[in-house]
């Protein structure tokens, strides 16, 4: 990591830079502070003029109301379950596919790679109607497999892992094979440990994507106690009298895990963002 050397530039330039960055950081972060304020107030206070600037004392009250209206605890558990199952399966399937594409020559390899790149460019909404009809004819509407299965093969993850495996020396694989190790054993014991950073990025990304997934779960799930957090919170928006304080509290709490992940794993995040396409 190379940072710019401290240039003896004129202080006014630096002051301007700090000002611009501070403004950008405030614009980005103030809505989150405001969510904290809103979570601890009641609806009437939120739209008062002038609006409140400091947290109030209604946090517990709003939390209880949220639990009563959408069973927030249950909904969070659903989200955790769906996201964890998705993350484990999807990371494994994507990593294996990336390995197959990077380290083997076989018929259909070019086609598969083309398919992977194509899914990255084609908007998922294009598949909505046919996928919906497919799930309906399978009788899978309102099940978790319908939420999870269509996205298990994650083209972004496959590409990321393929790029990671490409750099692994073939000689090491070859010599392990000479020693009698099977293909799966070589993959798990020798190759996978080396690409742990990229695998970490994939795991974090998969979890975040499924945790935030909104439209597809909204279309698929229609029993309240199966809802994931984004779906349950969205149903609050549709009501005639919107409980903004509760909605904001729920949204904030549901966003927290992802914020925490970013906070803890910034490096993996960035390498994941780049998708192995650019050397960081």
């Amino acid at each position: 990591m190379t940072l710019l050397p401290a240039r003896g530039g004129p202080p006014p330039g630096r002051a301007a830079a700090v000002l611009v960055l501070t403004a950008a950081a405030l614009v980005s972060a103030v809505p989150f502070y405001w969510m904290v304020v809103a979570s601890t107030r009641d609806n009437a206070e939120l739209f008062a003029s002038p609006p409140p600037f400091l947290p109030g004392g209604r946090l517990l009250h709003n939390l209880v109301a949220l639990q009563d209206s959408i069973g927030f605890g249950r909904v969070l558990l659903n989200s955790v379950g769906v996201s964890v199952v998705y993350t484990v399966l999807s990371s494994l399937i994507s990593a294996m596919c990336g390995y197959g594409l990077a380290k083997y020559r076989f018929r259909g390899r070019g086609l598969l790679l083309g398919l992977v790149l194509a899914t990255m460019m084609i908007p998922f909404q294009v598949l909505l109607v046919p996928l919906f009809q497919m799930m309906a004819s399978l009788g899978w509407v309102d099940t978790y497999q319908a939420v999870i299965l269509p996205f298990l093969a994650n083209s972004f993850g496959i590409f990321l892992m393929r790029q990671a495996f490409l750099g692994f020396p073939d000689e090491l694989i070859e010599s392990a094979r000479m020693d009698g190790a099977g293909d799966l054993r070589i993959f798990y014991r020798i190759v996978l440990p080396v690409v742990r950073p990229q695998l970490g990025a994939l795991v974090i990304f998969s979890f975040m994507t499924q945790w935030n997934a909104f439209l597809w779960p909204l279309l698929m799930l229609n029993t309240e106690d199966k809802y994931t957090a984004p779906v349950a919170l969205y149903t609050l928006i549709g009501q005639s009298h919107v409980d903004y304080a509760g909605l904001i509290l729920g949204s904030f709490l549901a966003t927290l895990p992802v914020m925490l992940l970013f906070f803890l794993f910034q490096k993996q995040f960035v390498s994941g963002l780049l998708g192995g396409a650019v050397k960081g």
Binding site: R14, L127, V258
Partner: protein, 311 residues
């Protein structure tokens, strides 16, 4: 099951390069599909099949509950559909105005974040990236409250400093500006973090050499930083362009495409046609036109980039 069907292919194919031992030859034939098979099967079932089913559907229409073949009728209908053309113009506007604006802002942000004298660098970086990890529902609620008619927070701020009140989400022009603003809010930090990674790849010696040659900050930026950052900037441009062509989330939660289709995008339109009007044939036709447009533009960009951004 998935594995069996796919694993047969390489066996039927011409024999692979024979290895020195029998055991090794066997693994080299089936092993690739052991790894790639599950993903390939999932792609086949949940991507290729619905995509092709949609293509077939785009040549059909539902008449009195019966699906009939109508040839190119749905595509002809699209050519004369003003909402479809409006949606294309809307994303063209975003492509021309919002994407360059956002990349420029992200570049400024990243350049600032890369200065070694900057204190609390990590705090700034995290703050700038926060919008990109926000849950869509949270994003939606925040902007609804900020832009609410009459007592929204932005409106209150405007009137407090003596400016006229603006009905953000109910007038076409302001709704477009609000949409552009909210997309920029969500994705600028994301691009800045990517650009920052690119900036950190530029060696310190290059700055020092520029300083010794007497280059000022502006010259250093234009002559040293920008050329080296070109692949990363192009990467951001490509991903932002594809993102814009696929625009759905932001206008779905903010305006539902309104008022009067001022913020309609092609993907949101196909969603409405499919799931609100239940006109599956027409939705499929729009979907395929979107696929072709994205394909063409992405292809052009990848060609233009060459091997710059992809290894």
């Amino acid at each position: 099951m998935a594995q069996q069907t796919t694993a047969r292919k390489p066996v039927a194919a011409a024999p692979a390069k024979a290895g020195p031992t029998r055991g090794r030859r066997r693994t080299s034939r089936t092993a690739p599909w052991m790894f790639a098979g599950p993903a390939a099967a999932l792609f086949g079932v949940f991507f290729a099949y619905p995509l092709l089913a949609g293509l077939y559907q785009s040549f059909t229409a539902d008449r009195d509950g019966v699906t009939t073949w109508v040839g190119l009728a749905q595509y002809r209908r699209m050519m004369h559909d003003p909402i479809f053309w409006t949606s294309l113009r809307n994303i063209a506007l975003i492509l021309v105005v919002q994407v360059p604006l956002m990349i420029a802002l992200a570049l400024v942000m990243a350049y600032g974040l890369n200065q070694s004298w900057l204190r609390f660098r990590a705090t700034y970086r995290i703050a700038c990236f926060l919008p990109a990890v926000t849950m869509l529902v949270a994003y939606s609620v925040v902007f609804r409250v900020l832009l609410k008619t009459d007592d929204g927070l932005v409106d209150q701020a405007l009137t407090a400093v003596g400016l006229p009140s603006v009905d953000w989400l109910n007038s076409p022009g302001w709704a477009r500006i609000a949409l552009i603003g909210s997309i920029t809010w969500r994705w600028t930090g994301y691009n800045a973090v990517i650009l920052l990674a690119g900036l950190q790849g530029i060696a310190r010696e290059q700055y020092e050499a520029a300083a010794i040659d007497g280059a000022g900050p502006a010259t250093t930026f234009l002559r040293v930083v920008l050329p080296q950052l070109r692949p990363v900037i192009l990467f951001c441009l490509v991903t932002s362009t594809i993102g814009t062509l696929q625009l759905f989330d932001e206008n779905y939660v903010l305006t539902k495409g309104g008022p009067g289709n001022a913020t309609m995008s092609p993907v949101l339109y196909l969603y409405k046609v499919g799931f609100e009007q239940l006109d599956f044939g027409y939705a499929a036709a729009i979907a395929w036109v979107v696929v072709v447009i994205i394909g063409l533009i992405s292809y052009a960009q990848f060609r233009f980039l060459g091997k710059d951004a992809t290894r």
